[in-house]
Symmetry: C2
Subunit: 83 residues, 2 copies
């Protein structure tokens, strides 16, 4: 399993409830998707959302977003190093 950071742009005006609902929808399907969603952070002003997850591949993280009804991340990077 690899840790991934993905970034969504264009999410201007996202609310705390929307972020929480999106995260809960992702967590609800994480077992079948094989991807664990750890955290997400959002800036409603610039419309940027960062998601931190663990999964077998970037493609699996993309598929998990899709299954959860989320928008497709604009960027995704494996982040094998962390402090």
């Amino acid at each position: 399993m690899t840790r991934f950071m993905d970034v969504h742009h264009g999410m201007q005006g996202i609310t705390a409830d929307q972020l929480r609902e999106g995260h809960e929808a992702a967590v609800a399907i994480e077992k079948e998707a094989g991807v664990h969603f750890e955290h997400a952070w959002a800036d409603p002003e610039s419309g940027t959302v960062y998601c931190l997850s663990e999964g077998p591949s970037a493609e699996a993280v993309h598929r998990a977003h899709e299954h959860a009804g989320a928008t497709r991340p604009d960027e995704i990077h494996a982040v094998p190093l962390a402090v």
Copy 2:
């Protein structure tokens, strides 16, 4: 205090030791800088580093990077929403 996510590009080849040393240097000056560095994640392949911090302003986070001898982040966004 606001939470911030900043992003560094061009860090290809960064090692676990370099990430840890950079984070420790930032933590060492966080009291005087008034910025708390929570976590950092790195992708040595694309050269992307994400830093999560808490501080009074984006400018304070920039100054804290500078004090710690780190490169200036290419992007920084307040992330008031988190799950």
